[in-house]
């Protein structure tokens, strides 16, 4: 394979693919009572449900004079009425009624975006609808599995979505940004392994053996093992799914009990679920949740974990916003990379390939494109 040239790979304002599923909302946010507005990948959408609970995503601008449909009302079984002149649209975005005339202009319609409900989120496809295969939705199955419990929130982050992916693909920042809860010196001292998988996902694996558990993990261990004290083996296994979903298998187990050989029975295991949706070039909807596979019955633990992660991610939010401001204040300065950026750089290369495939009109997210097999043909 010849070396590719990547002009966009270290872009500071990273472009986003359109031919991809993005989380647009939590399932409970979109109702059959009132429409809501949200901008995804630069496209403003109105979201609602039909009376039989199907989610609908239309362009949030009336065909006529572009008044926002999200200020309108839901009528009938599946229609939305423009707040300005009363034009009505069905769930495919076709106009069904116009004021003061007996007919409807057959050309009158607003874009309708593919939308699928899965893993407690609604997902939309802002690009070429003919490519919107629901099987391409990234695997976040822990969100809706009976073997996992947890909850999460949305951060409206004032930064380019790729900065959040960089953040999650390299967790050495925990030592510096989250010193009070998650950080420990062993994070940057222990080695990690980065791998581009055959299916186009990227895995970054880090094990820390026989370490003191940081406060967050000591508390979690005691939820399962009330008398626990001592050293742990700690793991972080980051799974990236294009374009912008990162599920992190995290946990600790009593040191030397074989967690790294597959026996996690003497530990606690969580999954940090993150899916990041570009809103504009400089803002993102960051949907996250923390799922666990122990003490499923305890709503108290669910709330405590959600609140704990809320605090941790608040620290990231401050850093990301400040980083975006510094990027904008220093337009002549470039990005340089460190060894720790391997995961984030794979993400950037994969996104670069997705964007190139999109240019060529090819099917997105095929492993062939993501892994670069066949790149030499380009």
């Amino acid at each position: 394979m010849s070396l590719e040239t990547h002009e966009t790979v270290t872009a500071k304002i990273f472009p986003h693919p359109l031919n991809a599923w993005y989380a647009v909302a939590w399932d409970h946010e979109v109702t059959a009572k009132e429409p809501m507005s949200r901008t995804i990948a630069g496209k403003s959408m109105v979201l609602y449900r039909t009376t039989d609970n199907r989610p609908v995503a239309l362009a949030d601008a009336c065909w006529h004079r572009l008044a926002p449909l999200s200020m309108g009302t839901l009528v009938g079984s599946d229609e939305i009425q423009c707040p300005y002149h009363g034009l009505r649209y069905n769930s495919t975005g076709r106009c069904t009624s116009m004021p003061a005339q007996q007919t409807v202009n057959p050309s009158a319609m607003v874009p309708s975006y593919p939308v699928v409900e899965r893993y407690r989120y609604l997902w939309v496809w802002p690009g070429d609808m003919t490519l919107a295969d629901p099987d391409l939705i990234p695997d976040m199955s822990q969100m809706s599995s009976p073997e996992w419990a947890g909850d999460g929130e949305t951060i409206h982050a004032a930064c380019n979505y790729q900065l959040i992916l960089d953040n999650l693909m390299d967790l050495t920042h925990e030592e510096f940004v989250h010193g009070a809860s998650l950080g420990q010196a062993e994070l940057s001292e222990s080695g990690f392994h980065t791998k581009l998988e055959d299916d186009g996902s990227v895995t970054v694996t880090r094990w820390m053996h026989e370490v003191e558990p940081p406060p967050f993990w000591r508390r979690n261990m005691r939820d399962k093992f009330p008398d626990f004290d001592g050293l742990v083996d700690r793991w972080q296994i980051i799974h990236y799914y294009a374009p912008s979903t990162i599920c992190i298998d995290v946990g600790v187990a009593k040191a030397g009990t074989g967690a790294d050989q597959g026996d996690r029975s003497q530990g606690v295991n969580g999954y940090v679920m993150n899916t990041i949706t570009p809103e504009t070039d400089r803002s993102s909807h960051y949907f996250w949740a923390f799922m666990r596979n122990y003490r499923l019955e305890s709503q108290t633990i669910t709330t405590q974990l959600r609140n704990g992660v809320h605090g941790v991610f608040g620290e990231d939010e401050v850093m990301l916003q400040a980083q975006q401001a510094a990027i904008d204040a220093n337009p002549d300065h470039e990005f340089y990379s460190l060894n720790i950026d391997a995961g984030g750089m794979w993400v950037r290369r994969i996104l670069d390939r997705m964007l190139a495939a999109e240019e060529r009109g090819e099917d997105p997210l095929s492993a062939r494109d993501l892994t670069g097999i066949g790149a030499a043909e380009r």
Binding site: N105, S107, S112, M129, L131, P134, G361
Partner: protein, 331 residues
């Protein structure tokens, strides 16, 4: 949003031409790359006929990812005006003039369920829609109507892809389509969008049945290739007494164009008979009003009180001795 961009003509080179039934031929050609042709799109092709050059529209059956390689399928019509004979004569290496893919029949996401209805060579307009509905995991039925299996193109491919969702309706096998039960059997609990392409008589039967069941007309989709009116276009006179204006509308000009050329400042926008901005009151007419718009309802058209001047015309009185059509308008 859905209005077509203007047709842009380019030269394309035929790279494959082969029969798929006795009378249907598949022609694949290469043209400059752009975007993948969406389901429901067609190309206009310049054809040579005994009467000279003409333009025909053909639905795109297949498109490469970048739209550089397009396939159409053409039925050799019994009463051909020459277009299908020309297309059937094409061989590999021939050059043709054609447009980019044009959209008139857009597949939309968001329906509760879908029915694709194809009859005869109408299959060409919807075959790609079927592929996309399958890929997107939508709830759909694909109904394919024909006189005999030998005349039905792409049956094997459709059966392989759609399995149980494909419903073959073959006249000479005694399984022909009953339009009334097709419409009546659509579930009432939710909406179904129907995309149809076939002979005008079949589509009209479906449309009438659709309306008689009170189903929303927006859910029935078909391609009209523009309303061609009830009469051949002919020249007629138009007069606006308030403006002291009188002129003749030539057979190849619109009423709007003739009035503008004569100095009248008329209001208009879409020029396709859709928006209704150009509606004008008729004060008298000699001849028959040929309403070609989709703005006025059938009831409104029947009164002949107004017409849409961007597309509608006047035909001479039935009594051939009464002279050409004549229209007087009130502003």
């Amino acid at each position: 949003m859905s209005s077509d961009p203007r047709p842009a003509w380019t030269t394309a080179r035929v790279v494959e031409s082969r029969p798929v039934t006795d009378r249907i031929r598949r022609v694949t050609f290469e043209r400059p790359a752009g975007r993948r042709a969406a389901p429901g799109t067609h190309v206009d092709v310049r054809v040579r006929t005994p009467k000279g050059e003409d333009v025909r529209s053909y639905s795109i059956v297949e498109s490469s990812a970048d739209g550089s390689r397009l396939t159409v399928s053409v039925m050799r019509a019994q009463a051909s005006r020459g277009g299908s004979v020309f297309m059937h004569g094409l061989v590999e290496g021939d050059e043709i003039e054609c447009t980019q893919p044009l959209q008139n029949f857009e597949l939309r996401h968001g329906a509760h369920r879908y029915v694709v209805l194809a009859a005869g060579v109408g299959i060409t307009a919807v075959i790609e829609m079927g592929r996309v509905l399958h890929r997107l995991g939508q709830d759909y039925r694909f109904v394919y109507v024909g006189r005999s299996r030998a005349q039905m193109a792409y049956v094997d491919e459709l059966a392989a892809l759609h399995g149980d969702r494909l419903e073959l309706r073959v006249d000479d096998e005694g399984t022909g389509l009953d339009v009334e039960s097709l419409v009546a059997d659509l579930p009432d609990d939710g909406r179904a969008e129907v995309y149809m392409c076939g002979p005008i008589r079949l589509m009209d039967a479906v449309r009438r049945s659709w309306l008689s069941h009170g189903r929303p007309i927006a859910d029935l989709r078909f391609e009209t290739f523009g309303s061609s009116g009830w009469f051949e276009p002919e020249a007629f006179e138009v007069e606006i007494p308030e403006l002291g204006l009188s002129t003749v509308v030539a057979s190849d000009a619109s009423l709007l164009e003739a009035l503008a050329a004569a100095g009248a400042d008329m209001m208009y926008d879409c020029r396709k008979g859709e928006c209704g901005l150009c509606e004008v009151t008729i004060s008298s007419v000699r001849g028959r009003v040929d309403h070609r718009d989709v703005f006025l309802s059938d009831d409104e058209k029947a009164t002949d009180e107004t017409l849409c001047i961007c597309v509608s015309r006047i035909a001479a009185p039935e009594d051939g001795d009464a002279g050409t059509g004549r229209l007087t308008l009130t502003l």
